[in-house]
């Protein structure tokens, strides 16, 4: 009976949490990563690095949990405020495409990795947290992946991602600032478009 009560309390508790908010950030990260890993596990095309399919997988499963506008703002830095709403939209679109295209090709390696999901210590009022996941590999130091996440009305969203201490977003800042200085915000948008097109083009003699 006690067990049943405890179970009922837990169930109610989880309903309560669902009703007033969203999946906590660390649980969200874990669920999404394990989900993607399970999908790759079942799919031979993804394992052999089918680029289009990998891209669709990221777009469907991972992208909804990212704040793409926030990420782009972070990468563009001070020039973001000088951009028109239309430029911001195009910048966001192109930057999001670049990240998806770049990291889609690394997705196959996901299958063999072991994750150590670090417990997150957060206070109920926190709205900006960092979720840590360690990727364990024999013979080398574990690689730490960190997701900076913020609370939004649509749930927790990731706005920066660091692998081994390198922010995949902030690392673009100097490069983007240089491009804006040389050819303005439209120049940066054009460079990103060209880059994305080159990544979509079938690679001649692509090395495995």
């Amino acid at each position: 009976m006690k067990g049943f009560l405890a179970g009922a309390a837990l169930l109610l508790g989880s309903f309560g949490a669902q009703a007033q908010g969203h999946t906590p950030p660390d649980e969200l990260v874990k669920a999404v990563m394990l989900d993607i890993q399970a999908i790759i596990e079942r799919d031979k095309d993804l394992q052999s690095g089918d680029h289009g399919k990998n891209i669709r997988l990221i777009e469907e499963k991972a992208l909804p949990h990212f704040n793409d506008v926030g990420m782009t703002a972070l990468a563009v830095g001070v020039n973001w405020r000088k951009a028109s709403p239309e430029q911001k939209k195009r910048l966001t679109h192109e930057f999001r495409s670049l990240l998806v295209r770049t990291y889609a090709s690394s997705l196959a390696a996901f299958r063999e990795q072991k994750f150590d999901f670090r417990p997150l210590r957060m206070k109920p009022e926190d709205t900006d947290v960092t979720v840590q996941v360690r990727v364990l590999q024999p013979g080398t130091q574990p690689v730490v992946v960190e997701y900076d996440m913020e609370k939004t009305p649509r749930g927790w969203k990731c706005y920066d991602l660091r692998v081994a201490g390198i922010s995949l977003v902030i690392n673009y800042r100097t490069e983007f600032a240089n491009l804006v200085r040389e050819s303005g915000i439209d120049g940066l948008i054009r460079s990103l478009e060209t880059k994305n097109k080159s990544l979509d083009a079938p690679k001649a003699g692509a090395a495995k």
Binding site: A73, W80, S105, S106, T140, Q141, G165
Partner: protein, 233 residues
Amino acid sequence: MNPRAAAMALTLLAASGCATTTTDPRDPLEGYNRAMFAVNDTVDEALFKPVARAYKAVAPAPLRGMVRNFFANLEDPFIGANNMLQGKFLDGWTDWARFVFNTVFGVFGINDVASEMGLEKHNEDFGQTFGRWGAGDGPYLVLPFFGPSTLRDAGGLVLDLAADPVSQHRPVNERNAAIATNVVSHRADLLDASRLLEEASIDRYVFLRDAYLQRRRSLVYDGSPPRERRPAE
């Protein structure tokens, strides 16, 4: 100085004089660095990358793992020494215990049994130790062959090499074979990363430099550098 070297030095000077419009405060030697980056890249494309690809194609993954572990094991005593110098005694003892277990039970380190026992590998070197002691990065510096570095890390590298059991090994022909194997093994492990770098960046030099500086900062703070908050959108 022979005429050839003089000509090369002049070219480098000219490159450093005109290549940049505005200088990044972290990279005052950008002209020279970009020239050295191009040289390293040419050598890499012509020599290291093809050899590393061939190695990956010929040697099966378990064998490559043993080669990687063998050299990684030789680094552990010295990683432990650096942890001691930084006052992280528990980590230091872990590194030394790893070396003993892996050498004895892992057959000269080719099996990383210590990691399976929960003794995790660390990443330390003299550059990080100097950083921990309070030394800043100093100017960014692309070294011949070694690639991205900084003034501080280049100083550390000199000590790293002096303490490295592989480069101190004699006879010289055995040492050279060992160094060559280690270099090829490392390069093979980085093939995916270097492809990613090409795909991710528009200006590869800037992208790699910023990634290097971020990575070193993270290593000096053992993965938890003081966090920079996001500016308002």
